[in-house]
């Protein structure tokens, strides 16, 4: 079984999940658990950092699809950043960039969260 780890970093406006290693059908439940915990903790601004992710399967992609609706319905979002070209290609082929905001760098993503919340409070 391949290795996978999720590291949670709580920030002021958002929570970052660093995902490390192999994300496939075996390890996807770990990610599910982590995101569910964030939702339970009312942390709905979620940034997923892909810097150290080596592989993602359709099961891994499905985890995000499974939570995005609920997160967005609570005025939060799942944004992604720091993908390697190989990983980004997987997302890109499937058209994920249309659904998710994917950034090169963490701080860009963080800025976007701030912008979103500002927009929300304006409404």
């Amino acid at each position: 079984m391949e290795n996978f780890k999720v590291v949670r970093q709580d920030g002021v406006d958002l929570t970052t999940l660093k995902i490390i290693g192999f994300l496939d059908a075996h390890t996807a439940p770990m990610l599910e658990e982590a995101i569910q915990k964030l939702i339970d903790d009312q942390k709905v601004n979620i940034l997923v950092d892909f810097k150290e992710l080596n592989y993602i399967s359709s099961a891994g992609l499905g985890v995000f699809m499974g939570f995005i609706e609920e997160v967005r319905s609570r005025n939060g979002d799942i944004k992604m950043c720091s993908m390697s070209p190989k990983i980004y290609r997987v997302f890109d082929l499937l058209g994920f960039p249309t659904i998710y905001q994917i950034f090169d760098k963490q701080d860009e993503a963080a800025a976007m969260f701030l912008k979103d919340s500002a927009a929300a409070s304006d409404e």
Binding site: S58, G62, M65, G66, L93, L94, G95
Partner: protein
């Protein structure tokens, strides 16, 4: 009912009757014919000897049904005693004294009564000796047979010696060794042998406490009765009047019986105090045996737990018992219980009690709950418990569960119970381990069966043969990995000239992927004839799929329509891998990547906006290669992926060949690349070549 086995009594009886005949003749007139009397005695003695085998084939108490044998013995002795009590044999004794050793029978009636008594008492003694032999031989030791044989030999010999008291025959070997002295020596010897054989009372161990008590009360009556019987018979001895040999034989028989039952009675009394303990130990052993038997073939965890609490309750005579099991996730739950109220069951075992039970993985006993730390939690949960034992079930230093028994009274348990339950628990742990192994192997089997079914279903969804279109060669293959993948390709004839084709894969693996693939095929079959444009088909397909599948499942595919008459090919890429195109005009293979999105990811507008339809004329030599990500992601033992780059290069090399050969080459190369590494994704290729 008396049973004499297979021994024929006919011969002895015949001899006996001869003796009687002689008697009658003697009665007739020949009183003092000594030789005739010796003959008579000889015949009777012979009859006795020939009857001795009865002893060795008596069935009372021989079939290990000791109680039944003893009951028969008791009845016989008591009956004989009463009979003797109420029949009047004194006159005969008086007569014999007055006439010395020569018996005068007086009358026919007297003679008949004496004969009857003799026969009866001889048979009585034979039966008794047989029964005693059976009792003695229970738990036979090395010398048992020898000692009994010696006793029988000496007894019979001594009885036969009394022949010499007929008439005034007295044997004198010398002054010291007179006939009388020999008699005393033999008597001494025979009594010693009787006592020696009377130590063999091992059958007492087979009685349980209740039976021992019954025997005790019975013995209190029987032992005195037997001695009285013996003494009465000894003084009046009707058999002796009839025949000295028989007389002494019967007398000795009665004596042996008296000695034996007295010794047995003493031995019984000495065993009574420990009867309860022995009973318990026996019950514990047989419970352990029952448990072993019950659980060694029980692979259902629930039934196993129930059997365990049942037997634990029985063997410790507890008021209630319960068993907790720790699941794979580490949760401690109540698996089975006896005599727990619905409330107690609903609450489950409180944490403090469970913690105490499992502490140090050692069995524990508390006989005064009220004075212990368990008082509060236990009184809240189960008020009536005053004594409790907990035995953790452990396997390789890890807790698998815990077994508890409880009683309403203080000091309800002993160290014995603890040891007993510890032995129990070791058996139970083994059985639990077995049950879990069987369960997981069953689960594995079910999973494998599920995968087999899914695989077969998947294979059935794929087209059986390649479509034929003028000016086009089409070839496809799907090589499944060990696990059921979600790859799919299909062809949909729209009309005589047009063909829809699809290649795609469902996210996920296993049976669920196969189901969605089947659903997809249905949708495609329905939509293909109705849609001229691949994009419009995909929009409709996405809408249906998005509604019907889980949010975390999606499908990536390529759908195209070939128009063989107009030589046009239109296609869309809904999230699937890029399409490789080799043409005669271009030297290099093109990688076509129209914009697109997987099906089932978005409900409407985003998907519509993302899908780009491409239309290209079909020129001779055009070779399209469609593939799924299994080709890109094929890994070698070092973990390297095949990647699109290698695939493109490979296609570049072989695109001029026929579709079948192109595919063969691709598959061969990828297999060579992967080497010994196991494939974990389906490998699917579809090649369309215009000739």
């Amino acid at each position: 009912m008396k049973r004499f086995g297979n021994i024929s009594l006919i011969l002895p009886l015949v001899l006996f009757l001869c003796g009687v005949v002689i008697d009658l003749n003697l009665l007739g007139g020949l009183f003092d014919n000594a030789p005739l009397r010796y003959l008579r005695e000889g015949l009777i003695t012979l009859a006795l000897i020939l009857s001795l085998p009865i002893i060795y084939s008596q069935r009372w108490a021989s079939d290990r049904n000791i109680v039944r044998g003893l009951r028969s013995l008791f009845a016989l002795i008591l009956g004989t005693f009463l009979l003797l009590l109420f029949s009047d044999l004194e006159p005969f004794a008086a007569e014999s004294i007055s006439t010395g050793h020569n018996v005068l029978y007086g009358s026919m009636v007297t003679y008949l009564i004496l004969t009857a008594w003799t026969l009866f008492s001889t048979l009585f003694v034979l039966v008794i000796l047989g029964t005693l032999r059976n009792l003695i031989f229970i738990k036979q030791k090395k010398n048992t047979a020898l000692h009994f044989l010696l006793l029988m030999l000496v007894l019979v010999f001594y009885a036969i010696l009394s022949v010499f008291t007929i008439g005034d025959l007295t044997v004198r070997f010398s002054y010291k060794l007179s006939g009388e002295n020999i008699g005393y020596i033999l008597l001494f010897l025979v009594i010693n042998l009787m006592v020696l054989n009377s130590f063999r009372v091992g059958w007492l161990n087979f009685l349980n406490r209740r039976q021992k008590l019954t025997l005790f009360w019975g013995g209190l009556v029987l032992v005195p009765v037997e001695w009285l019987l013996y003494m009465k018979y000894h003084t009046s001895n009707p058999a002796a009047l009839f025949s000295p040999v028989l007389g002494r034989f019967v007398d000795l028989g009665f004596l042996f019986l008296s000695i034996y039952i007295t010794m047995a009675f003493i031995a019984l009394i000495s065993r009574l105090p420990t009867a309860t303990l022995l009973d318990r130990q026996y019950k514990q052993l047989s419970s352990l045996h029952s448990l072993s038997r019950a659980i060694s073939s029980e692979f259902d965890l629930t039934r196993l737990a129930e059997t365990t609490v049942d037997l634990a309750l029985q063997v410790t005579e507890s008021d209630s018992s319960w068993l907790t099991l720790i699941s794979a996730k580490g949760e401690d739950r109540l698996a089975a219980a006896r005599n727990l109220s619905p409330d107690e069951l609903a609450t489950g075992v409180p944490q403090p009690i469970a913690a105490w039970g499992l502490a140090q993985l050692q069995p524990k006993l508390i006989n005064q709950v009220g004075k212990s730390t368990l008082n509060v939690p236990l009184s809240v949960w189960k008020r009536d418990v005053q004594s409790v034992i907990a035995v953790p079930l452990k396997s390789a230093e890890e807790a698998v569960g815990c077994l508890y028994v409880a009683k309403h009274i203080e000091y309800g348990f002993e160290q014995d119970d603890l040891d007993m339950l510890r032995a129990f628990s070791e058996q139970v742990v083994i059985a639990i381990r077995n049950a879990r192994l069987v369960e997981s192997s069953l689960v594995r089997e079910r999973l494998e069966e599920e995968l087999r079914i899914a695989h077969n279903a998947q294979m059935k969804l794929l087209p059986k043969k390649m479509p034929q279109l003028p000016g086009l060669e089409i070839e496809a293959v799907c090589i499944t990995a060990n696990e059921v993948g979600g790859d799919y390709y299909d062809f949909f004839p729209i009309d005589a000239n047009r063909l829809g084709l699809v290649i795609g894969d469902v996210s996920g693996k296993g049976a669920s992927a196969a189901f969605i693939m089947a659903e997809l095929k249905g949708i495609m079959e329905a939509l293909a004839p109705k849609n001229d444009s691949p994009k419009s088909l995909l929009l409709a397909a996405n809408e249906t799929l998005y509604r019907n599948i889980d949010r975390n499942i999606f499908v990536s595919l390529i759908y195209g329509i070939i128009d063989a008459r107009d030589r046009l090919f239109r296609f869309c890429r809904a999230g699937q891998c890029p399409i490789l195109l080799a043409t005669c005009e271009a030297a290099e293979v093109q990688v076509l990547r129209p914009s697109g999105m997987g099906l089932g990811l978005d409900g409407g507008s985003a998907f519509a906006g993302a899908i780009e339809e491409i239309q290209r004329p079909i020129r001779p030599g055009d070779t399209y290669l469609f593939y799924t990500d299994g080709a890109e992601e094929a890994r070698n033992p070092r973990g390297e992926e095949f990647t699109e780059i290698r695939l493109v290069a490979l296609f570049q090399r072989h695109h001029q060949k026929g579709p079948h050969e192109i595919i063969d080459r691709l598959v061969a190369e990828i297999n060579a690349f992967a080497g010994s590494a196991r494939s974990h994704d389906d490998l699917t290729f579809l090649v369309v070549k215009a000739v």
